[in-house]
Amino acid sequence: MTRVLGRAGLLLGLPVVLLVTWWFASAGSKSFYQPPLETIVKVFPDTWTGARFKSDVFPSLIRLFIGYGLAVALGIALGVLIGANRRLRALVEPLLEFLRAIPPPVLVPILILIAGIGNPTKVLVIVIGGIWPVLLNTVEGVRGVDEVLADTCRSYRIGGWLRLRTFILRAASPQIVVGARQALSISIIMMVIGELLGATNGLGYTVVEFQRGFQIPEMWSGVFVLGLLGVLLSLAFTLVERRVLSWYHGARAAERSGH
């Protein structure tokens, strides 16, 4: 119990200190652009529950989940293909290095030109940003599978889908998870960027609209929503990771204790 409390204290300690400091430092602030935290907190419920949740938060989340899901699925699929095939890897690796070096936000105007300003473009923006860490980490993971395990599969004639599912993907999963975690934060950023240009709804759009309409406390509250979203998704990710990689952490711990 004390350990749980201690961990919660470590986790929440600094944010709480910062918020309290902000609360008192900004109390009575007359600056139009830096309203008191109290004001921001007061407008928060009215701004983000009810109609706006449905009209802006929900569409953003849907786009994020579809975009992130596609980025992960495509990244893994292409990564397995490239990682398992030495010739293909030699062929596409320079190209991948070039493509990943392009900052994805630069591609947003181009995508809008080609695909318009609808939902598909906004999802595509997320995919283009999020796919790289998944793809590159999957390639590395698949390339680094253990040779003795590969021989074991060969000699027991474990092939095809069974081999992919029970050997390749599982062996690469620690690295795939690293990529997927990076992709998650990038996807949130790309979601907002996609909504800054030529959008009519969404979290990013709403924050910019508030700023343009000089609704400064509401704008700040939007920034809070995005931060909270990031934290919640990261927590959810950690829960999934613990399940998927429990074997990995167990094996690592056994190795360290000199088993």
Binding site: L149, Y156, T166
Partner: protein, 258 residues
């Protein structure tokens, strides 16, 4: 059961050619237990990989049950030296044993039966739910042996399977392998660098030269079928056979050094 004809393997690359296997000819009868010993670096593992269809020979051929080996043959199982790396760490012990059976197309009920039978055959009846990394090294190698048993192979290849376990565990595992062989009657090819182990386990010991490797001698081990760590190892005949094999291997090493 296992025929090796003029097997040769040359590793090429970077302008340097290494002749690992020179010329190996060897026949193992159905159900025989043959141990292969040789000085270190004599290409024992290369030989085993060629037999298992994991490596293509440069020339010569390997036949398992009359069929020329071009890839991993039917009814052949390999137990690797690196037990820690040959079990899938994300699968539980029972799932590890079950996986090759799934791929073989064995039905669920039959799979379950084979898994529990093979686990109890290696003395790990209640370890099915554990993960491999929760077990000691010796127990992990038992799991690998159980997986090979459950596969019901006609030929079992073992690549220095006990090189990485401690002496106590090693003696237990040696007896286990004898018991398994007597009970299931598969053809057994056991590669080791340990002369005592080879003489203790085998019905026949095949001695290899240094590389480029060929067969130095094939020696029948005329000890009784019931072997015991203490009694057998102290028998005069055991000591005699052991000394003979030792002398031949030393000779081979000397020849390589000259």
């Amino acid at each position: 059961m296992l025929e090796i004809n003029a097997l040769r393997k040359v590793y090429g690359g970077h302008g340097r050619q290494v002749e690992a296997l020179g010329d190996i000819t060897l026949t193992v009868e159905d159900g025989q237990f043959v141990c292969v010993v040789g000085p270190s670096g004599c290409g024992k593992t290369t030989l085993l990989r060629c037999l298992g269809g994991l490596l293509a020979p440069t020339s010569g051929e390997v036949k398992v049950a009359g069929q020329t080996v071009t890839g991993p043959p039917d009814g052949l199982a390999i137990v690797f030296q690196e037990y820690g790396r040959s079990l899938f760490p994300w699968l539980r012990v029972a799932e590890n044993i079950e996986l090759p059976l799934k791929s073989k197309g064995v039905g669920r009920a039959e799979r379950r039966k084979l898994v529990s039978e093979s686990l109890s055959a290696v003395g790990l009846g209640d370890a099915g739910k554990a993960y491999p990394w929760q077990l000691s090294g010796g127990m992990q190698q038992r799991v690998a042996i159980a997986r090979a048993i459950a596969f019901q192979p006609k030929v079992m290849l073992m690549d220095e399977p006990f090189a990485a376990v401690d002496a106590q565990t090693r003696a237990d595992l040696e007896d286990l392998v004898r018991t398994v062989w007597q009970r299931f009657g598969m053809t057994m090819l056991f590669v080791t660098h340990d002369i005592d182990e080879a003489v203790y386990l085998g019905e026949r010991v095949v001695m290899l030269s240094s590389s480029p490797t060929h067969v130095l001698e094939s020696l029948d081990i005329d000890l009784s079928a019931e072997r015991d760590q203490l009694k057998t190892r102290s028998e005069a005949r055991f000591v005699e056979l052991r000394s003979h094999v030792y002398a031949r291997i030393q000779e081979a090493k000397g020849a390589a050094a000259r």
